[in-house]
Symmetry: C2
DNA sequence: CAAAGACGTTAGCCAAGACTTACGGTAAGT
DNA sequence: ACTTACCGTAAGTCTTGGCTAACGTCTTTG
């Protein structure tokens, strides 16, 4: 279950913010940190976590490092969630009917 | 963005384990804790977090409390992820082509 | 070759949170 | 009514992890 890293990565709000920005436009570390409330090293550390989770990819461009979304990590989470989607809806439906029956028992 | 709680909730391995068990079968707190490496209060605290994240629902059954999967929290995460899915695949395709061009520049 | 720009890494600090133990509260059985 | 079963909560401990400041590395440019 390597999706553990992906969930842990997206659990942090700052990391989700970085991820959302990269989804709009591939960017370098400094560009991301410039208009964010945390320091550049902090962003760099977050990117490291996102990279190890398979959520982003990095490429060298001169002295800069451009980061970009990686669909692999995203796919793992989606697959894990879809595993529960059907049974969740089914359980929800059953619960609604169960509560309805509870009402009919005491008219 | 209420999906923050859902992500934070599923970030913990023990909480994911509880969630997976509930997806297989609605269960009471004691039943869950009996065959898990943590104490019953720990499971109870985890269930509280999952409930506040909209991932589970609880119902009273005598002295027991049966927990069950809730599709609401699941849906929020899925919606958030799907927001990036298309752009992620597009970015990945562009990156592959970019690397191919890089090869052609140095034959 | 030296200086500057852009990053990654380390050390250290501090708050968040995952556990356990102990306690109180409610419902069912005798 | 008393006991038993099941559960949530409070207090306390200890680890995890996010942040900053300082330093080291690599590439480009003059």
């Amino acid at each position: 279950m390597t999706n553990a890293k992906a969930f842990a990565a997206l659990a942090d709000p700052t990391r989700r913010e970085v991820f959302e920005r990269l989804s709009r436009r591939p960017s370098a570390v400094g560009d991301l940190a410039s208009d964010m409330p945390v320091s550049r090293p902090a962003v760099s550390q977050h990117l490291k976590v996102l990279k190890e989770a398979g959520l982003v990819t990095d490429r060298a461009d001169g002295t800069r490092r451009v980061y970009q979304i990686d669909p692999r990590g995203l796919g793992q989470i989606r697959a894990w969630l879809d595993q529960f989607w059907d049974v969740a809806l089914e359980a929800f439906k059953a619960e609604v009917e169960r509560q309805a029956d509870e009402q009919n028992d005491k008219p």
